[in-house]
């Protein structure tokens, strides 16, 4: 018996060594400087961009410049959209493989922050932006700072900001070809009555004027979100969603917003096949003048650019008000640098975040990335100039949806809203279903 032990132990040890070697090798490779450099100035960043994208090229140029100016070595790993999904499990490692993550504030707040991974950047907001007399807080501004701050289960701010944003995007933007509607450049429709008149005029020409990629649930939800925000205010959706009785849905205003969506769905305004097509079929049609308007995000011009009709003149205005109500505030998402709590190079990461807020780089956000710079007064691309004006004027929605409601949206709201947008439910049926399904949902949550 005893004579068998050495081979057993040897075998087990061999396996253990092999596994440890591979695990340690993997960790070490991923960890790079963040894990091993100790106190040295060697910063690692995981980015949402992929090699070759305009955002990647912008950020790489900024990194090169930052290295030259500060002597701090920076390694960026281009992870793409899966950056947060990749980073979450890595937070369990004793040697977290990056110092900072570059992505949207909502992902950082909703996924990484609840896992205890993100540093509070309140102090970083007080540092000066290189080449200016302004602090980070001043350049970012209070509205965007609010968007960079996590919220608790009731939607109230929880702690300080966890992201230093350098660019913004917005949804609920109405895009059109300036060549076809030159009069709208200086006379955007003030409300939906005016906009419906324009849409009806196009329908009279046998056109289906509104392009809508129905396979993207979040695009479908923009209509009800914004109609409701106009009628009852931007916090109305949160109020109804968090009401465990479901009765808030029955209050006046919720039905009115649904009736406007129903009017769009059943009135033949959306492009034919919008409820049975694959993204980006419909926005490509719009970019080729087969539809007139597209309610979308500020990224749309750069997204359809390669397939658009020659000379397409991208213009936009923000989602109009429901007649008799104030316009809904613009729904904005900010993106930037979040710093890992476990980072050994927090100061360097914060310094880099501030570096991106310099005037020169903010200008390049518009010119090279074709996105909206976060700094007030920095010009945006012409296609989204109206959006930038709304952001600079602070006309943005700062009501935050708690992270826990993502599950509610996925399981209740998006499904029923899709049916409303596709004309499968009437407004009254939608409200009834939202009310009863909400009550059932909260019961399942105990």
């Amino acid at each position: 018996m005893r004579r068998r032990q050495p081979p057993l132990l040897a075998g087990a040890a061999l396996v253990a060594v092999a596994l440890c070697a591979s695990a340690c090798g993997g960790s070490g490779a991923g960890a790079g400087p963040a894990g091993s450099a100790g106190g040295e100035d060697h910063l690692t960043i995981w980015s949402q961009w992929l090699k070759g994208q305009p955002g990647q090229q912008f950020l790489q140029a900024a990194v090169d410049d930052f290295q030259k100016q500060t002597g701090i070595k920076v390694t960026v790993q281009w992870k793409g959209n899966a950056v947060v999904k990749s980073l979450l499990p890595a937070l369990n490692s004793p040697d977290v493989p990056t110092d900072a993550v570059e992505t949207s504030a909502s992902q950082i707040q909703n996924v990484l922050y609840p896992a205890g991974g993100m540093a509070d950047l309140t102090a970083a907001y007080q540092q000066q932006v290189p080449g200016t007399s302004s602090t980070v807080a001043q350049v970012v501004g209070p509205a965007a700072t609010s968007l960079a701050t996590p919220v608790d289960a009731s939607g109230q701010p929880a702690g300080g900001p966890v992201v230093v944003p350098y660019w913004a995007s917005a949804t609920g933007v109405v895009f059109y070809n300036g060549q076809n509607f030159p009069a709208l450049a200086n006379a955007a429709p003030k409300d939906w009555d005016a906009f419906f008149a324009i849409l009806d005029a196009q329908k009279a020409k046998n056109r289906r004027p509104l392009a809508q990629d129905g396979s993207v649930t979040s695009y479908n939800a923009v209509f009800y979100n914004d109609f409701l925000a106009s009628v009852l205010g931007p916090d109305a959706l949160n109020k109804a969603e968090t009401d465990k009785t479901g009765q808030t849905w029955k209050q006046p205003g919720y039905l009115q917003a649904a009736q406007l969506v129903e009017r769009l769905a059943k009135g033949g305004y959306f492009t034919e096949g919008y409820d049975a097509s694959k993204f980006p079929e419909m926005e490509d049609k719009w970019a080729n003048n087969e539809a007139d308007f597209n309610v979308n995000g500020s990224w749309l011009p750069s997204e359809v650019g390669p397939v658009a009709a020659p000379g397409f003149d991208y213009r936009s205005f923000v989602f109009p008000a429901v007649a008799g109500h104030p316009a809904p505030p613009l729904n904005v998402t900010v993106s930037g640098i979040g710093v890992l709590k476990s980072s050994k190079h927090q100061a360097a990461a914060e310094k880099f975040a501030a570096f991106l807020l310099q005037r020169g780089y903010q200008t390049q956000v518009a010119t090279k990335m074709q996105n909206i710079p976060i700094a007030a007064g920095t010009p945006a691309p012409a296609a989204v100039e109206a959006v930038k004006q709304a952001i600079d004027a602070g006309q943005i929605n700062t009501v935050r949806s708690p992270a826990a409601l993502a599950d509610y949206n996925a399981k209740i709201y998006f499904g029923l809203d899709d049916k409303l947008v596709f004309g499968k439910l009437t407004a009254a049926q939608f409200i009834d279903a939202m009310s009863s399904d909400s009550a059932d949902y909260w019961k399942t949550k105990g």
């Binding site: 075998g11 959209n81 992902q107 205890g116 993207v216 409820d275 079929e281 949206n409 399904d437 059932d440």
Partner: protein, 322 residues
């Protein structure tokens, strides 16, 4: 433990061996050396298996009894994840959809595979046909699902072809009400070839004289299948049914790529267990809930075990000899 595995009484006794060793063999130098080598060869594999299969399974079980955001502290939840999951209507939808995939698509795949096996059995150029039916399984499911998306688009190839032959009224293939049905058809198409090829390989092992005898008796093609082919390929069908159950229960990529856009979750009416689990762990807009994702994984594990036992029982048979 070590000696129990290393020196199995059954193996040692050698009673089951056709050519049983004599008592003296137990103490032969060769046998002693073989016994010594057994341990170093088996234990590393066992250790790897425990580390990468058993330990994660036990961890999943533990995780299913906790609330966890993917990192940071866990919070004990007892059976809450299970009760919340069973009360969730979306979980029930996922259950029904999983059932459709495992049983509905499974039945279609096996029926088609049997049919193709009968058809191709005596066909000239069957090797070429075998390669053709196998082709869909060579292409990654992701590529197929993307291609199917474009085929069934309102302006896609399917509708264009239908219009060319004068059919202008066609279903909205990718509408939410129809999407799951299209997915089921796609999965059937994707999988039928693989099982056809496996069944044909099993048929190739059946001695031809049995078919000659059946022909002399005047058996039809179906009767030949019923009384010769099927009984003699039953063990292969049994293994295939197990493989199907295991694969179908964790169907994921085809659903996600076919239906979801830009990293978002697909509509809940096409979720299955795998998608439910993924959505709980990776909701792109919300905090990860690994506890419920793990609870769903445990349910899938139990169902897999149950289905395997059922499939093996239904298709159990005594060894047939030719």
């Amino acid at each position: 433990m070590a000696s129990a595995i290393a020196v199995s009484p059954t193996a040692e006794a050698g009673g089951a061996r056709p050519a049983g060793p004599g008592p003296g063999r137990r103490h032969s130098p060769f046998h002693r050396a073989r016994r010594r080598m057994f341990v170093p060869f088996v234990y590393p594999a066992l250790a790897v298996y425990v580390l990468i299969m058993v330990a994660p399974t036990l961890f999943t079980l533990w995780l299913s009894l906790n609330r966890w955001a993917g990192a940071g502290p866990m919070q004990w939840a007892g059976l809450h994840n299970y009760t919340a999951m069973f009360r969730d209507p979306v979980f029930r939808t996922s259950f029904v959809n999983t059932f459709w995939i495992v049983v509905g698509v499974g039945a279609a795949v096996f029926t088609i595979a049997f049919g193709m096996t009968i058809l191709l059995q005596d066909m000239a150029g069957r090797k070429w046909a075998r390669a053709v039916v196998f082709f869909p399984s060579l292409v990654p499911g992701i590529a197929i699902s993307i291609m199917w998306g474009y085929l069934f688009d309102p302006d896609g190839l399917v509708n264009t072809l239908l219009a060319d032959v004068g059919v202008h009224s066609h279903p909205a293939w990718l509408a939410q009400d129809n999407m799951f049905k299209v997915i089921l058809v796609g999965m059937t198409w994707l999988s039928s070839g693989v099982y056809t090829v496996i069944f044909m390989a099993a048929v190739d092992r059946i001695p031809p004289e049995l078919y000659q005898a059946a022909e002399i008796e005047g058996a039809s093609a179906f009767q030949r299948f019923r009384y010769v082919t099927f009984p003699l390929m039953k063990d292969v069908v049994s293994v295939c049914s197990v493989l199907w159950c295991v694969g179908a229960l964790k169907t994921f990529e085809f659903l996600l790529v076919f239906s979801a856009e830009s990293g978002a979750l697909p509509p809940t009416n096409i979720w299955n267990f795998a998608m439910y689990s993924y959505a709980e762990a990776f909701n792109p807009d919300g905090t990860a809930d690994y506890g419920i994702a793990a609870a769903c994984g445990v349910i899938v594990l139990l169902l897999t075990g149950l289905l395997i036992v059922l499939a093996r029982r239904v298709l159990r048979r005594d060894a047939d000899t030719y």
